[in-house]
Structure formats: structure tokens, C-alpha cells
């Protein structure tokens, strides 16, 4: 079948009368050019009378109808006359079905340019309501955790362990990789300047202290925030979108107690454990550098043991515990805050990760100040 196209021929007559002869197929494929031509003609001629001769039209679809309606509306807007002749009866009926004579073009909302004051107000309100929501969530979470601590039998342990495995144990390889590489790289970077002073052995002190006190818990919890906090948000967000949260509420089950405590307890359990692991692997990574410089392993181990104390180690674990609380709580909170719409779950996951990272870093700073004043 040869592809037929639409064509348009224009004629002007006395008294500002424009005649457009349409022929061929008026459909969404062929109309593009014709429509532009007609727009152009109408804008130039501004005819008081427009006559459409449609006797050559073989076929018209919804777009063809829209084309005719467009011409009609343009004339009506200028209070000028419009007439169609020769439109096959079938198409005439179709035209009436699509657009009865009183049809008016609806206004299509154009996006408004943003107004600075309005935007600032919106943002301030968003920040304010986010704070309020976060504070009330903190209260709910504290209450739920206290309840769980008082009634440990009521915790759904099976689910806690399931979450621990998915969100924690399965994160072991990536955490090991990151910790190992960071330990190795840090030791390597430190070995060169320290070597200039002939004190390469102190690389062991540096690596062990910084990993135990700082990097171990930080790397572990940031990785978990990205990996598991976001999945908490996405999971709970999807439940919210599917009205599963509503179902819980109407069954009399508090979503914070039912969903959030399980995840928070799991995170509080696994983050310190993974941190211990990250500490070990990180220090192991540092040893590679000294081994390659000819120091025996036992020297490295002894140097590490003399450099660090149990306090350094437990400081790191305490931090890890708090960071775990932060990323799991924030992940769940963002999940519960999920709005409707297809991008809502993705937005929640993003917000969970961003907020968790910010809060973890801030908490880390606070810890540094506290430990400094405590002198440990």
C-alpha cells in the first residue's frame, strides 16, 4: 500500500476569504507539516472567513479531527467565520463525536516560573514539618524500643535475624573489601613520609588507631547506610504505597513497633559486629605494607598491641552502635514518610541515604568532642 500523505492548497478570495483545500489522509503521521502550514497561513492572512474544502479527504483519524477543530477554534477566538464543505458524512459524524460545535479548547496549564518568596516559604515549611515528623518519630521509636527492652519476648526475633542476615551478614564482603583497601592504602601513604624519618614501624600505630577509633565504625556504617538503610526505606516505602501500612494500622498493629523496631534492633546488633570485622581486616590491610618492607608479622602485631587499648576498641563499637541506630531509624522514617507516585519510593531511598550520611558524620563529630573532653 503506497503511503498517502495529506496535502493543503490555499486560495484567497475577495473580502478576506481564505479557502483551504485539504486532501489525502489526515492522520497523525501525515499531518505534521500540513498543520504547521495551516497555522502559518491563518496567522498571516487573518481571514474573516475561512472555508475548508474537505472533498479530497479520504481518511481522517483523531488527529485529523483535532486539526479541523483547531482551525475552527482559531477562527472562533477571533470571532471570524468558519465553514467546512465536502467532508464525507462518516467523518462529519466523527467530528461531532470528538468535538460538538460548542467545544472549547481547554486551557492547558503551563508551569509557572518559580517565585523566590514562595519557594523559600515552601522550603522552610518542608524543613519545619520534617523536623516535627522526625522528632515525633524519635519519640515513637524510643517508646517502642523501651517497650521491647522491657518485653524482650514480644520482639519478633525470627524477623530480627532475617533482617540481620539480609542487611548485615550479606554486607560482609563489601565491608571487608573497603576496610582492607583503606587500611592498605592508608598504611602505604603513611609509610613514605614516615620512612624519611626512619620510623616506618609507627605506620602500625597510625593504621590501628585510626581504624579502631574512627575509620572502622565510619566506613561500616556509611556502607550499611547506603546498602541497607536505603533498602529499609524502599521496602517500607513500597509497603506504604501498597497500603500495607494502612492494613497494619487497621489491624491494630503499630507500624513503628511492628516494622521499625525489628530493623533497628537488627542494625544495632550487626553494625558493631561488622565493625569488629572491619577493624580486623583493616589492620590486616595495613600489615601488608610493613611486611613488604621487610618487617616480620610479629613486629607489626606487637606494635599494634602496644599502641591500642581496649578503650580505643570499645569507643569504636559504641560509635558503631549509635551509627547503626541512626541509619536504620532514618531509613525506616523515610520509608514511612513515602508519598504517593511512581518516583516516591526512589525519593525515599535517596533521602534516607543522604540524611543518614549527614547525621552519621555530625554524630561522629560530636563523639570526637566528647571523647576529647573526657580525655580518652
Amino acid at each position: 500500500m503506497p503511503k498517502q500523505t495529506a496535502s493543503i492548497a490555499a486560495r484567497t478570495e475577495q473580502g478576506n476569504r481564505l479557502i483551504l483545500e485539504l486532501s489525502g489522509r489526515l492522520d497523525s503521521d501525515s499531518l505534521g507539516e500540513v498543520w504547521k502550514q495551516a497555522e502559518h497561513l491563518l496567522a498571516r492572512e487573518q481571514p474573516r472567513e475561512l472555508l475548508i474544502d474537505a472533498s479530497g479527504v479520504q481518511y481522517a483519524d483523531g488527529s485529523g479531527m483535532a486539526f479541523l477543530v483547531d482551525l475552527r477554534c482559531r477562527q472562533q477566538e477571533r470571532a471570524a467565520s468558519f465553514e467546512i464543505t465536502g467532508l464525507p458524512e462518516k467523518l462529519q459524524k466523527l467530528l461531532e463525536l470528538y468535538a460538538p460545535p460548542d467545544f472549547e479548547k481547554p486551557a492547558v496549564k503551563e508551569p509557572k516560573p518559580p517565585n523566590l518568596a514562595e519557594e523559600m516559604g515552601r522550603m522552610a515549611y518542608a524543613v519545619w514539618s520534617d523536623w516535627r515528623r522526625s522528632i515525633s518519630f524519635l519519640g515513637e521509636l524510643a517508646a517502642a524500643l523501651t517497650f521491647s527492652a522491657l518485653h524482650p519476648r514480644q520482639i519478633r526475633w525470627k524477623e530480627v535475624f532475617l533482617v540481620s542476615e539480609k542487611a548485615g551478614v550479606n554486607a560482609l564482603p563489601i565491608i571487608a573489601l573497603i576496610a582492607f583497601l583503606v587500611g592498605l592504602i592508608m598504611a602505604f601513604q603513611a609509610a613514605i613520609p614516615m620512612g624519611q624519618f626512619g620510623v616506618e614501624i609507627y605506620v602500625a600505630d597510625l593504621t590501628a588507631l585510626s581504624i579502631l577509633r574512627e575509620l572502622g565504625p565510619l566506613m561500616t556504617s556509611l556502607t550499611l547506610a547506603g546498602r541497607s538503610g536505603s533498602s529499609f526505606a524502599a521496602e517500607i516505602g513500597t509497603m506504604k504505597v501498597n497500603e500495607e501500612i494502612d492494613a497494619l494500622l487497621t489491624m491494630g498493629l503499630d507500624p513503628v513497633r511492628f516494622l521499625v523496631t525489628v530493623r533497628v534492633i537488627a542494625a544495632i546488633l550487626v553494625t558493631p559486629l561488622l565493625t569488629v570485622f572491619a577493624d580486623l581486616v583493616g589492620i590486616l590491610g595495613g600489615s601488608i605494607v610493613l611486611l613488604s618492607m621487610g618487617y616480620p608479622l610479629i613486629t607489626y602485631v606487637n606494635q599494634v598491641m602496644s599502641a591500642v587499648t581496649w578503650i580505643d576498641f570499645s569507643q569504636g563499637l559504641l560509635k558503631a552502635l549509635v551509627f547503626g541506630l541512626i541509619f536504620s531509624g532514618i531509613g525506616c522514617l523515610r520509608g514511612l514518610q513515602t508519598q504517593t507516585g511512581p518516583s516516591a519510593v526512589g525519593d525515599s531511598a535517596t533521602r534516607a541515604v543522604v540524611t543518614s550520611i549527614i547525621l552519621i558524620v555530625i554524630a561522629d563529630g560530636i563523639f570526637a568532642v566528647i571523647f576529647y573532653y573526657l580525655g580518652i
Binding site: 503521521d29 499531518l31 505534521g32 479531527m65 468535538a99 479548547k105 496549564k109 504517593t340 511512581p342
Partner: protein, 256 residues
Amino acid sequence: MTASTTPMIQVENLTVGYGQDIIVDDVSFEVSRGETFIILGGSGSGKSTLLKAMIGLLPPKKGRVLIDGEDIATEDEQKHLGILRKIGVMYQSGALFGSRTLLENVRLPLEEFTRLPGRAQNLVACLKLNIVDLKGYENYLPAEISGGMKKRAAIARAMALDPEILFLDEPSAGLDPVTQAELDQLVLTLSKNLGMTFVIVTHELPSIYTVADRVIMLEKESRKIIAEGRPDHLRDHSDNPRVRQFFQREADPEKV
């Protein structure tokens, strides 16, 4: 338009299923041009699976589906797109894009597949919404309108490029009787005035009597078509008790 006499849709010895499970086994039927064709069956009888195979979402295990003489499962990208232009699908829940307004939903296929100027696309989209009686809701988001309106908007979107066939998956499920009846009227209007072919999956009896030219009925146990014909004829004259039972809304005697 080609005034050919080939049927609009031919389903030949079609077997479909998921993994090892066969849901519909070796069925054949035809849908003529301009016909309103209804696929019936109880829950789990494979209505939606059959529909998915007909629109090419589910590759057949055996047999083929021809739309206007062309195999829907063709490897040829261009041909496949050509076939897709001929069909429009309304999914059970509407499947409107939630982040776009109704107008933008309907306009999307026009933006992608036509070269109409922007204003023209808007107008075409508005007319489509007008035809499904959604004038005035152009700037609403899907989340802001009711279930019945979503379904109508989904029909408008399916019609954006003026397909020859519209597939509707359970259009009246979950709607009140008045809205159901309005939707039936819409189908009748479109079928009468635009000459569209409809393939509808449903089990709403009133709708079936109102709109159907012909129905087929699937059965879960045999995985085959157990009846074919006009609905009122099947109700009164079918020799299969299961078919009569369906049309007369009786519970399964074995389960009572």
C-alpha cells in the same frame, strides 16, 4: 484503510503459560474487523494470560497470533512497531504514569511517534479526553481522580494514536454499576462510530450482554475454549452445564 477481508486478529493453535505451567492450551479463534469480542472465564482460567499473549507481552509456547495478518511475535523491530501502532491496551489498573497529568499521559505517544506541533499534540490529547468524557480533568494527576476516571483516561491514552484494536483488561472490575454502564456506553460509541475492534476480558455479566458481539469462554481445568458464540444464545442454549452456570450466576453444585 485497507478494506481487506482478513480477520483483524487470528489466534492459531496458541499455547501459553509461565515456565512449566501451561495456562491456555492449543486454542484457535478469530476476531473480525469492528467486532466487540469478549474473553470470559472464571478466576484463574487464563483470560489475562491469553490477552497478554495476544498483545505480545507473553511469548507463545506454541502457535501464533496474527494482528491484521502479521505475527505479533515478529523479530523485525520495524514490523513490530507497526503492529503496536494498530493496537491500544488498557491495563486492569489503568497503568497511567503517576507523575504526569492526564493530558501528558495521553500526549506521550503523540510526542514519541508523531511529528505534530506541540499545540496540536495538546489538542489531539484534549479531544481524546473529551471523547471519554474527561473534559476539564486535563491537568489532574492520576492520583487525584477516581478509579472509573482512571480507566477512562487509560482508554483515552490507548486511543492516542487511533489504533484499530483496543484491548481492555477487566475494564469494569471494581467500579460501581453506574460507572460500569457508562464505560459500556463508551465502548459501544467507539465501536459504532470509529469502527474500532474491541477485545475485552471481563466477567461482568451486564457488560457482556450490552457490548458483546461474540464471546469465548475459557475453562481452568481443560485449559481450552469451552464455548463460543453470542452471549444470550450461550445462556439459553449451551449444552455445557458450566457455561449455563456461568451465565446464570449459579454456584458450583459440587461446592454447595
